[in-house]
């Protein structure tokens, strides 16, 4: 009964939440760009934010607001990042939170805000607040309401990203569901630009923070698209307590069950983001094992996942293990190239000085043709292992980012 189940769902799947996404012409006409998530009552809350020293106004605002561990609503918009906008931009964020509280008749300090889009432009506050009011009027609990939030926060994303998991804790069914956006500007130390997760678990803010931190380490912090880290990256979780489980106040079995469900949701969102990396044609998991330490393995895997040369070779369907090993070589990790092996989905390309022959290359060609594969580097130096989720670097990545306008 405690079995973890991956199910369809999003921010409206857990009990106690309503949501809506509407169009407010923040940047473009004719698309959803304002989202509102509202809990029936104040919730336990936690969040993680970008470590970029140039942090957007909503991040600066939320960092303070979430310290209470109590949140009831989040207003989000796409189309404008409200970053590098100074004191006026901070006031815009604050005003948006206050107006949302007024509209919903809840406490202003329990409202968070999130923005994504172009840097350096002031928020069109009038349009944002019109959108917020329209969203407040159309709040609901259906799957479509959840989906509309996932759609409203998209920028260069080609599809909405949602995930949901259920688990039984002390005989009570607990649901964790959410959505995220972000297909470029994604890198560890805050991979999503924006992520919203809701749960009906009963859990203290402190334990929620702990669970979120652990889940992020296994998911969002393992995602590399282009190595750039945004000014706006934020991941939120709200817990309504409506599942009726015995409140989780410390580590133990209940906490582990909850943590595993949250991790499953985060990993699913991250995989969807890597697959939707700007211009991505391939989803690639880079695993380094046999490293001198786990830190070495993580360094090496990240260097491979960030290497433009490795990424273009995947796009070109070329089992170019030389570029992979070269990236490991400059990562700072210990490596003895003649002990190392490189595999693509279990097919070896290089093993301890031996290079794939024609027959082996034919097998590798089949792997590289796939939309999804794993590159494994075994360093044979120790027991350190780490994986990174990433994608290839394609012509469309350049198209998208050369054409996206300031």
């Amino acid at each position: 009964m405690s079995t973890l189940k991956i199910v369809d769902g999003g921010v409206c799947s857990a009990k106690g939440f309503r949501a809506a996404g509407v169009g407010a012409a923040i940047k473009y006409q004719g698309r959803k760009d304002v989202a509102l998530i509202v809990a029936d009552e104040p919730c336990a809350a936690a969040a993680v934010f970008t470590t970029n020293k140039v942090a957007a106004s909503p991040v600066l605002y939320d960092r303070e607001a979430v310290k209470s561990g109590c949140v009831q609503a989040i207003l989000a918009n796409s189309g404008c990042a409200n970053a590098c906008t100074g004191e006026p931009g901070f006031k815009d964020a604050e005003l948006s939170a206050l107006a949302t509280a007024g509209e919903l008749a809840i406490k202003p300090e329990n409202v968070l805000v999130a923005s994504t889009g172009v840097i350096g432009r002031r928020l069109p506050v009038d349009r944002l607040l019109s959108g917020m009011k329209a969203a407040a009027k159309s709040l609901g609990r259906t799957a479509d309401h959840g989906l509309s939030v996932a759609q409203a926060v998209m920028t260069t994303d080609t599809r909405p990203k949602q995930a949901c998991a259920t688990v039984s804790i002390g005989g009570k069914k607990v649901t964790v569901g959410g959505c995220s956006k972000g297909s470029g500007m994604i890198e560890p130390n805050m991979a999503t630009m924006l992520g919203f997760i809701t749960t009906d678990a009963a859990i203290t803010p402190a334990m929620l923070r702990r669970a979120l931190k652990l889940a992020v380490a296994k998911s969002f912090n393992r995602l590399v698209v282009d190595g750039d880290e945004s000014t706006n990256d934020s991941l939120f979780i709200l817990a309504s307590g409506k599942a009726g489980n015995q409140p989780i106040v410390r580590g133990g079995d209940d906490f582990e069950l909850f943590r595993s469900a949250l991790e499953a949701v985060c990993v699913s969102l991250v995989r969807q983001m890597a697959k939707d990396g700007e211009g991505a044609t391939k989803f690639v998991t880079v695993t380094v094992r046999g490293a001198r330490s786990e830190a070495d393995a993580a360094r090496a895997a990240r260097a491979v996942a960030k290497s433009p040369l490795a990424k273009t070779s995947w796009f070109g369907r070329d089992p170019n293990w030389g570029r992979v090993l070269a990236a490991v070589g400059y990562s700072g990790a210990d490596v003895a190239d003649l002990k190392a092996e490189v595999f693509y989905d279990g097919e070896w390309a290089f093993r301890r000085g031996e290079v794939a022959d024609e027959k082996q290359l034919a097998k590798l060609a089949k792997v590289l043709d796939k939309d999804e594969f794993e590159v494994v580097v075994d360093l044979h130096l120790g027991r350190g292992e780490s994986s990174i989720y990433t994608c290839d670097l394609s012509l469309d990545y350049v198209h998208i980012n050369a054409d996206y306008t300031t």
Copy 2:
């Protein structure tokens, strides 16, 4: 009379050197791919190599051989990197050096080798040595002989890269000339894949090493193309002493004159490499000033130069200062975004919270249309300043690297 002059020239410009580049079908038919540089007598020598822990066999061989500070010849090839080839690959490098010494009737320990090309393939030693013998027969001192070396080491380079400078030291004309190859896999801590510099200065090996290290810090280590660092990067300098200057044995005016000429040659080569970065359409100098420290400025400039998002914005002719500031923000350097200013060739795009209006954007559009411009970030936090040479990230970068075969 001591005035530094930039002149046309290459590895045959300084007195005491002969060279040749020939075709030996190392990878392709019908192009030069083997180069030989030979000094009339054993020379003072110095070199810097890749810091990649996966270092190619010629690098492993040369690191030992150059320790004597005495070199008379260098054999180089393109088409095959002789990297990740283990003990057999090392023997191939050794054998190539021995055979070259035999052909030239010089000491084997005074011969270095250099390779560039595909990783993981064994050197075609027979063809390489045939090429070496053909080159030995066609050695000469003309500008064309120098050019043929620059051509023979090209891989994805679209043009040969040579530079030369003269300076008067104690009334004697001293010449420093060289060539380099490398348009991808270029990054600080050894930017060139292969560089060869000759000089007729009289200078001790120790002072030559010191001059090379200083010049590299101001040139090759300030170049970023894609952030990848090769297994084969090597830069060599040989000094024949034929200029007849009083030998340079310590720091002082003579050393400074020599160092300035060497730096001028290195900077010229690096600028040519950045302009010829794989697929590059724009040569961009990124300067960060007003940083808390020089180290902060260097970190920030490098992060901007490596950011795929900033690089694609240059390709797209977009004065996207937001991506520039975001890269500074995650570089680790101290930044207060509302104190910062971002300029493109002196035209401001962002200054202390103020964003370019339509009129200013029109000026910026003219800068971004140019083939060459400087991006300046002034952090207004201190006096640290640093510059990096780089290029944009274009569609052709992806074409070239997706199609380049293993």
